[in-house]
């Protein structure tokens, strides 16, 4: 065992202590609760057409959602990878905002836009003097797919565009020189080369759609329950922990099998694509046609984000006019509630937890990616899939696992904010792995070897060779680690004490009571969340490693 291999021990310890141990603890406990321990709960679930239906629905809705997500994400990735235009950084940040929005808030954006009384419908009803709203997509499957795409397309955009921007443009030019039409070039050259990045990001999108909870519930209604919802029902409402545990295990087996297939594929498709610095790839000049195309494209993207604008509009409207009432309202604790926290505190909590999550995820994710990137590493696929598992495990089960695993000395974390950061980092670090791995695999080996030959120490090689090349991918990973933490609220509701209230938790609390002022303030807080997150994205984007330029 070489020193290089030993480095994986850190992440393995982390995974064991903070993932496998709590998961094992809750599963052991829930299955122990059943006197007929063994296959009883499993055969019950698999013999019940309702649960079989949930399993089937979960798989196919996730598949369709992922395909739609990729279909929407790829053109946008192209826009960001291949074109420079004013305001690009801001647009890129804004286009990633949907990823972190609380589901109920996004749902309200969708409803404000395309709901029965939404902008589109009222406009159409006015224009064509209709009696009923023509667009009816709320509480349908279509809106679930659309919402999943809306939520997750930025995963595709970020990961693929980074890879795309660094893809050697001579490859496409060579194809053109060999007589290939644009379409052929895309199908035979670009697409296969992008495939590792596309699949890598699609896996994340799939995992999110597969374990979807809020989106499905809020926009779809109860007839569209996923496995995750069924697990929640069994746990928190029906108190059939043994069934919940069994269902969670079934979900995990599916996820693991799926991830295993993916990592096998990834290892097989590993192509050493020599990535080149970004400056060499961006186009210099555009004709008018291209400029028009670009403008249309950007407008299309902005239109796609219109549910967000609708939210801003609603946050600012009060009693028939526009005002900052709801924003100022956030700053006063009129009822003198014990649970009230000022927006400053709440924002600070969110930001520092997100920063801590980012730090942990970067360390864990980068080390794992390095370990996995070595060609022909024995068992890498198994390990890769294992490290991705936190994404596929039922959140409610995991939450309770945390509570019973870390509830006594020496690991009594129940009262600590650390438990929250750890929970967030478990969902965040897979993003670092998935964004860094394609870049690492595409990194020119000669460069590192040359550095080693020239006598650079491994640390020096890392700092001067690897880091500049990986910096883009690391930034993408950081962006998502930050985003995951900023937007997460399921685990936060379960684990967090009032003094650690985060923005999504504050929004959730406001929305748990009826009344226009509550919803107004919730949307005001959501608007602040959007702005903070977009600012965070821009800050991360602006970060450059030394003066190596934007790789």
């Amino acid at each position: 065992m070489t020193a290089r291999r030993l480095i994986i021990i850190g992440p393995l310890v982390y995974l064991t202590v903070f993932f496998l141990y709590p998961l094992g603890a809750i599963l052991a406990k829930s299955l122990d609760a059943d006197p007929f321990i063994g296959f009883g709960p499993f055969s019950r679930l698999l013999g019940d057409s309702y649960y079989l239906g949930r399993i089937w629905f979960t798989i196919w809705q996730a598949t369709v959602s992922t395909m739609l997500t990729v279909a929407i994400g790829l053109p946008v990735a192209y826009l960001f990878a291949k074109h420079e235009f004013p305001g690009k950084t801001v647009l890129k940040a804004v286009s990633t905002v949907p990823f972190i929005m609380p589901t109920i808030v996004v749902a309200m954006g969708f409803i404000a836009l395309a709901g029965p009384q939404g902008l589109l419908n009222s406009a159409l009803m006015d224009i064509f003097s209709l009696d009923n709203p023509p667009i009816r997509i709320t509480n349908t499957l279509t809106i679930i797919f659309l919402a999943h795409a809306f939520y997750n397309y930025s995963i595709i955009v970020r990961i693929v565009s980074t890879f795309w921007a660094n893809l050697n443009p001579r490859l496409e030019e060579s194809a053109a020189m060999l007589g290939a039409r644009r379409f052929d070039t895309f199908i035979y050259v670009t697409l296969p080369l992008l495939l590792p990045a596309i699949v890598s990001s699609a896996v994340l999108a799939f995992a999110f759609a597969f374990t979807s909870f809020g989106v499905v519930l809020v926009l779809g209604g109860s007839q569209f329950a996923t496995l995750e919802v069924a697990t929640y029902e069994l746990t928190a409402k029906l108190f059939r922990l043994e069934l919940a545990g069994a269902l969670a295990i079934i979900q995990m087996l599916f996820t693991y099998a799926f991830l295993l297939v993916y990592t096998r594929f990834q290892a097989g498709a590993a192509v050493r694509v020599d990535l080149v610095p970004r400056e060499a790839t961006s186009s210099h000049k555009r004709g008018t046609g291209q400029t028009l195309f670009l403008i249309a494209f950007v407008f299309g993207l902005l239109a796609m984000l219109s549910p967000l604008w609708a939210l801003f509009e609603r946050a600012l409207s009060s009693g028939g006019g526009y005002s900052f009432t709801h924003f100022t309202g956030l700053f006063s604790n009129e009822s003198g509630s014990y649970f009230y926290r000022s927006p400053v505190t709440v924002i600070w909590n969110s930001v520092r937890f997100a920063a801590a999550t980012m730090a942990i995820s970067l360390v864990v994710g980068t080390i794992v990616a390095y370990f996995l990137a070595r060609p022909r590493r024995h068992g890498a696929g198994v390990l890769d899939a294992l490290f991705m598992m936190p994404l596929g495990v039922s959140a409610v089960i995991m939450g309770f696992g945390f509570l019973i695993a870390f509830n006594r000395d020496p690991l009594d974390l129940r009262a600590s904010w650390f438990i929250l950061v750890i929970a967030h980092s478990l969902i965040a670090y897979p993003f670092v792995i998935r964004s860094v791995l394609p870049a690492l695999r595409g990194m020119p080996v000669q460069l590192r070897e040359a550095a080693a030959v020239l006598g650079a120490s491994p640390t020096k090689t890392f700092l001067h060779i690897d880091l500049p090349i990986l910096s883009r991918a690391l930034l993408v990973g950081s962006t998502f680690a930050f985003a995951v933490s900023m937007g997460e609220f399921g685990a936060s509701l379960l684990l967090v004490r009032p003094e650690f209230t985060t923005m999504p938790v504050a929004i959730f609390r406001l929305l748990s009571q009826p009344g226009a002022a509550n919803i107004g303030q919730a949307l005001a807080m959501s608007s602040i969340l959007m702005v903070i997150v977009a600012a965070g994205f821009i800050a991360i984007e602006r970060f450059r490693y030394k003066d190596m330029g934007g790789f």
């Binding site: 194809a175 053109a176 020189m177 050493r272």
Partner: protein, 354 residues
């Protein structure tokens, strides 16, 4: 009549002109070498001809047909990039057959042609190798075969051998030239290495800062370099600017006699003073040598192989002098005072255009 005609073409990027008012021609079957330092616009010129960039002004025509606005794929040209840009996700056959597949040729035809080409580049049996399993030289051959496959009317090379070691590069040059000549394809060969240009090309175009400074065969260029830069590009060692005066040409290191009366009449004209470093000798103490002696101080000594290059500071200039093994001058060190003898036949004077 030339088959390729590039007329007064210019192209600018955000940081200024990359190519400015360049004209260039190539005869059918000719290999044109495009020589110049990095960043002089050679690559941009290639990309303009290929159609990968659109010129701001000027035009390009091939075989009497103007290429303005024509897409790269429709030009029927081939281009081999510096980094080769082999498709990493395909094997050797996949790469070589790509252009043929794009023409939707019959499978048998494609296979036959690929087999032939692999034979031509001496890679028979390598068809199913992955690109990353190949050595540097093998990759060049695959790239060449891939470029040749669709039978391009014009084949362009952008420093394709830049990353190879000298030995391999030289053997590939000979091989590639033989193949090109055998097929008879018109080619443009971009390089910053003059030896490579001489070895590969029938005629040479020297570029600097986006413009063509001189074009011609190697002999023509050597005979009458039109500028200091051209002379240096050709690899000449001692290149100085001088002025015609009486009784001789004044140069930074001294005055040289004029034996061509026609030149002598142009008092005040600028000339290139070219001194053959192999014929310059160091005056031994007590020895005698023909020609006037120049006094100087040893500036530096560079050893390569058995010979060494002695640079001597004389007056305001420097003079390079080739020292053969066994010569006592080998013992000199920087700072030593020496007398240098420049025999008249070592000096060549070229009148520069005004």
């Amino acid at each position: 009549m030339p088959i390729l005609e590039v007329s007064n073409i210019s192209k600018s990027f955000s940081d200024g002109y990359a190519v400015y008012d360049v004209s260039l021609t190539a005869e059918r079957g000719e290999i044109v070498g495009l020589l110049g330092p990095s960043g002089c616009g050679k690559t941009t010129l290639l990309r303009l001809v290929a159609g990968l960039e659109q010129p701001d002004s000027g035009s390009i025509s091939f075989d009497g047909v103007t290429l303005d606005g024509m897409a790269p794929k429709d030009r029927g040209f081939g281009l081999m990039f510096q980094d080769l840009a082999l498709f990493p996700h395909m094997d050797v056959i996949g790469n070589v057959s790509f252009g043929l597949r794009m023409q939707h040729l019959a499978k048998d035809e494609v296979r036959q042609r690929v087999d032939d080409l692999l034979g031509v580049v001496d890679l028979t049996g390598y068809g199913h190798r992955k690109v990353h399993e190949l050595s540097g030289g093998e990759r060049q051959r695959v790239a060449l075969a891939r470029s040749l496959a669709p039978k391009p009317k014009l084949l362009m090379f952008d420093e394709p051998f830049g990353s190879l070691d000298r030995g391999l590069r030289e053997s590939l040059q000979t091989e590639v030239r033989a193949i090109l000549k055998e097929i008879g394809v018109t080619s443009i060969y971009v390089t910053h290495d003059r030896d490579e240009a001489f070895a590969m090309a029938d005629s040479i175009v020297i570029m600097d800062k986006g413009s063509v400074v001189q074009a011609g065969t190697a002999q023509e260029l050597f005979k009458a370099p039109r500028s200091e830069l051209v002379a240096r590009s050709l690899g000449l060692k001692n290149v100085m600017l001088g002025t015609v005066a009486t009784p001789g040409v004044e140069s930074p290191i001294g005055v040289f006699p004029i034996d061509d009366p026609a030149l002598g009449n142009n008092v005040g004209a600028r000339v290139l003073v070219l001194i053959d470093d192999r014929q310059v000798s160091i005056k031994q103490q007590g020895g005698s040598a023909e020609g006037p002696a120049l006094e100087g101080i040893v500036d530096s000594i560079q050893f390569h192989g058995g010979e060494s290059d002695l640079v001597i500071r004389i007056g305001e200039g420097k003079l390079s002098c080739l020292v053969r093994p066994g010569d006592v001058s080998m013992a000199l060190a920087a700072g030593d005072s020496v007398s240098v003898v420049v025999p008249p036949h070592a000096v060549r004077l070229v009148l520069l255009d005004r």
